[in-house]
């Protein structure tokens, strides 16, 4: 509810945001040049990314310092919570666009193309598909020839990854309980396990990708199936990467003795994010891997 009694907290003027914006600009510019095969692009991208990384470290470092100095009252804490919560909501909507695309092509576009005898005679549709002009789909787990692809099955690595992420949801909650009980050992160990699970997940996914590219004829360019598959799992993987980095940061902070049983928004924000990544994965597992 409305304001906590007493004084407000107002930060000093800060150079971090505007410099970060410069980093974003340089990164974007570099990316554009890179995509258009202009060689300066990759250097600019590295430069921009470096600015962003360094500045994030400074910026978050300052916030962490302030937090540890006890500068933040309950009201600030609540603002942070709302900020993180609604940020995650916006991320959900970002994924919604891609899930929407997946449903649209599966339920509408591909069937329309299949019944369109005038332009695409002989095309039968179905899912997975790379479209009337794309590679032909063959049974999962068989060796694709040229211009063929094999769809990604659900019950190998993906199922394992589901298990891993679900377990990591549990481990992060164990860490949280540890923190609440002020059991630092439990906090640090369970956090470490969560990170390990996150990294394992990513390693499996990297393996899955390389397998898809090299053994299954399945690439980003494999029609709508490849596009939706790699964009959805790819953005998810990116979020897992970010989440893992965030977990590492709070793990290091936990080791340093940051957070108190009452005040640990930094921890909770990361935990929320991790759960969000987890839930998105469940959607992916069901709609991208399983129900084909």
């Amino acid at each position: 509810m409305s304001a906590a009694k007493g004084s407000y907290y107002l930060p000093e003027p800060s150079p971090w945001p505007v410099i970060t914006s410069v980093g974003v600009f340089v990164l974007a510019l570099g990316f554009i040049l890179f995509m258009n095969s202009i060689s300066a692009g990759s250097w600019l991208m590295i430069g921009g990314a470096a600015i962003i990384v360094i500045l994030s470290a400074k910026w978050f470092g300052q916030v962490i310092g302030e937090s540890e100095a006890g500068t933040f009252n309950d009201q600030v804490d609540m603002s942070f919570r709302m900020g993180m919560g609604w940020f995650i909501f916006s991320e959900v909507m970002f994924f919604a666009a891609f899930f929407g695309a997946l449903f649209y092509v599966r339920q509408l576009a591909v069937p329309w193309l299949a019944e369109n005898e005038l332009l695409w005679p002989g095309y039968e549709g179905g899912w997975p598909t790379a479209g009337p002009k794309g590679a032909e789909v063959i049974a999962a787990d068989s060796q694709p020839g040229p211009n063929q692809f094999s769809p990604m099955g659900a019950w190998g690595i993906p199922a394992l990854n589901t298990l891993i992420l679900l377990t990591s949801g549990f481990t992060v909650t164990m860490a949280h309980w540890g923190l609440k009980k002020d059991n630092r050992g439990q906090l640090v160990v369970w956090l470490f396990l969560t990170i390990a699970l996150g990294i394992t997940f990513l390693a499996f996914q990297a393996y899955e990708y390389s397998h898809a590219y090299t053994q299954m004829g399945l690439t980003l360019g494999t029609g709508v199936y490849g596009a939706t598959f790699f964009m959805l799992t790819g953005f998810h993987g990116f979020h897992v990467t970010m989440g893992t980095i965030m977990l590492i940061v709070i793990w290091l902070r936990s080791i340093k003795g940051h957070f108190t049983p009452k005040h640990h928004f930094g921890f909770e924000g990361v935990a929320w994010y991790w759960h969000f990544v987890d839930v998105v994965w469940l959607g992916l597992f069901v709609f991208v891997y399983w129900l084909v």
Binding site: S2, A3, S7, Y8, Y9, L10, E12, P13, S14, P15, W16, P17, V18, T20, S21, V22, V24, F25, A28, L29, I32, M35, N36, W59, Q75, M78, S79, M82, G83, W86, F87, F89, S90, E91, M93, F94, A96, A97, F98, G100, A101, Y104, V105, A109, L113, L119, A130, G131, P132, K133, G134, T219, L220, G221, G223, V224, G226, A227, T228, M231
Partner: protein, 517 residues
């Protein structure tokens, strides 16, 4: 705690500031600059359309002007202008010392100039800027040159800015209100912004998704919008308009908030139907997510879709009508005076309603087969956007500038600006209805002879409208520099916390929370 009034001076004040008033000022000047840039492009459009034949620009450049005019106006001028108002006014109106997340606030702003730079740079790339319309429909956008990539990345960064800004606004409104300021006591401007912020959070990321798919279709071999790979160009339109329709309410809901502040002040009578205003706003926001395909009646949707989107779109007239009627009832039996802000509010409400009812006409699916992609649509949305959003912004500027600067603007000049704008605006856009009905498509640099006359009226109107905005610039600068001292309350009928602090509002206000009865 930090109740100091000192702050860095010079450039670093503006670069590093975490003060909501400074950031509000930055937003407002940025958006004004963009308004001039976008307006200058509109002038090029209108000059080329002065008569049939190609006079001034090549067709390809004309298309770039249309596209960038719209992107600059929507993302660069109107949205940041309302965010600027939010920055200045929300803390003042709810009795908070600042926004909830001041550093983030600074970042939201400072992303904008960089994004705008990318957008404008696109025009100078080989092959020019985006030329496929602000709606960025593929496959045309898959064809374009590097300028398209600049645009996509600019849209991404503009979107980041909006998302961060909305988060801040939500946290501010929900978490920073002075004791006693319950939700249902909040001024309507605060309410409309709260709801707008949710619209932004739910729609901008979807736009980001859409342009990301566009980018990968362009450069990374995906086939989202390519039938040969099983994709569908129309899918982009669905995703775009899922963002695009809420977007138009993002542009207009804060304007409704402004009208709801100004009209009671000058009618000297409380706002009629406060509760129904809040619910109507929320209803509009909800409906805005289920009407998107009314922009796509001609793409060949299944009949059930055509009907559903027609009915849901028509429904929006009900809550919007409630708002219009509430404003009318507020004026009814008031004790009205007509200072410049009030003129803008009245004209804004009426002309917006004109644009609204043409929107209703467009929502009728079969009739839209004739209206779609003609100047009738152009007339519709300039009546809603310009008369709704921009007139509200002008009114808001006159209404609050005494609080911001401590100076009264010059009433005669203000009224001159108003009347010139009225003449220019209506002369520009009213004839466009007839052009559209008679069959002139939009987005064309040259037209058949029977459209000449109305186009000339429209161009003359546009030049008057443009000149009027230069007068506005002069008035704003003059008022910032000096003028009659404003009192704290400024307007006789003004109500609300912002009128209890001195004019100009000191650098820090409400360092200790005020009590709201």
């Amino acid at each position: 705690m930090s109740a100091h009034d000192s702050h860095p001076t010079g450039l670093s004040r503006w670069l590093f500031t975490t003060n909501h008033k400074d950031i509000g000022t930055l937003y407002l000047w940025f958006s004004f600059t963009m308004f001039l840039v976008g307006g200058a492009m509109a002038m090029i459009i209108r000059a080329e359309l002065w008569q049939p034949g190609l006079q001034l620009v090549e067709p390809h450049f004309f298309n770039q002007m249309t596209t960038v005019h719209a992107l600059v106006m929507v993302f660069g001028a109107v949205m940041p202008a309302f965010t600027g108002l939010a920055n200045w006014q929300l803390p003042l109106m709810i009795g908070a010392p600042d926004m909830a997340l001041p550093r983030l606030n600074n970042w939201s702003f400072w992303l904008l100039p960089f994004a705008a730079t990318l957008l404008v740079l696109s025009l100078f790339m080989p092959g020019g800027g985006p030329a496929a319309g602000w709606t960025l429909y593929p496959p045309l956008t898959v064809q374009g040159g590097m300028g398209m990539d600049f645009t996509i990345l600019a849209v991404h960064i503009l979107g980041m800015s909006s998302i961060l800004g909305s988060i801040n606004i939500i946290a501010t409104i929900l978490n920073m209100r002075a004791p006693g300021m319950t939700l249902m006591k909040m001024p309507l401007f605060v309410w409309t912004w709260l709801i707008t912020a949710f619209l932004l959070l739910a729609s901008i990321p979807v736009l980001a998704g859409a342009v990301t798919m566009l980018l990968t279709d362009r450069h990374f071999g995906t086939h989202f919008f390519d039938a040969a790979g099983g994709g569908d160009p129309v899918m982009f339109q669905h995703i775009f308009w899922f963002f695009g329709h809420p977007e138009v309410y993002i542009l207009v809901l804060p304007a409704f908030g402004v009208f709801s502040q100004i009209i009671p002040t000058f009618a000297r009578k409380p706002l009629f139907g406060y509760t129904s205003m809040v619910f109507a706003t929320a209803t509009i926001a909800f409906l805005s997510f289920i009407v998107w395909a009314h922009h796509m009646y001609t793409v060949g949707m299944p009949m059930a879709g055509e009907l559903f989107f027609m009915y849901s779109t028509m429904l929006i007239a009900v809550p919007t009508g409630v708002k219009i009627f509430n404003w009318m009832a507020t004026m009814w039996r008031g004790s009205m005076t007509f200072e410049t802000p009030m003129l803008y509010a009245i004209a804004g409400v009426f002309l917006f309603a004109v644009g609204g009812v043409t929107g209703l006409m467009l929502s009728i699916t079969p009739a839209d087969f004739q209206y779609h992609d003609t100047y009738f649509v152009v007339a519709h949305f300039h009546y809603t956007i310009f008369a709704g959003s921009v007139l509200a912004l002008m009114g808001a500027a006159y209404y609050w500038i005494p609080k911001w600067t401590g100076h009264m603007y010059n009433e005669t000049l203000g009224k001159t600006h108003f009347w010139l704008t009225m003449i220019g605006f209506n002369l520009t856009f009213f004839p466009q209805h007839f052009l559209g009905l008679a069959g002139m498509p939009r987005r064309i640099p040259d037209y058949a002879l029977q459209f000449t006359e109305f186009n000339q009226w429209s161009s003359v109107g546009a030049f008057i409208l443009g000149a009027a905005q230069l007068l506005w610039l002069y008035i704003l600068i003059k008022t910032v520099k000096g003028g009659e001292k404003a009192t704290d309350k400024v307007w006789e009928g003004a109500e609300g916390l912002e009128w209890t602090v001195p004019s100009p509002a000191p650098y820090h206000t409400f360092s200790t929370p005020p009590q709201v009865r």
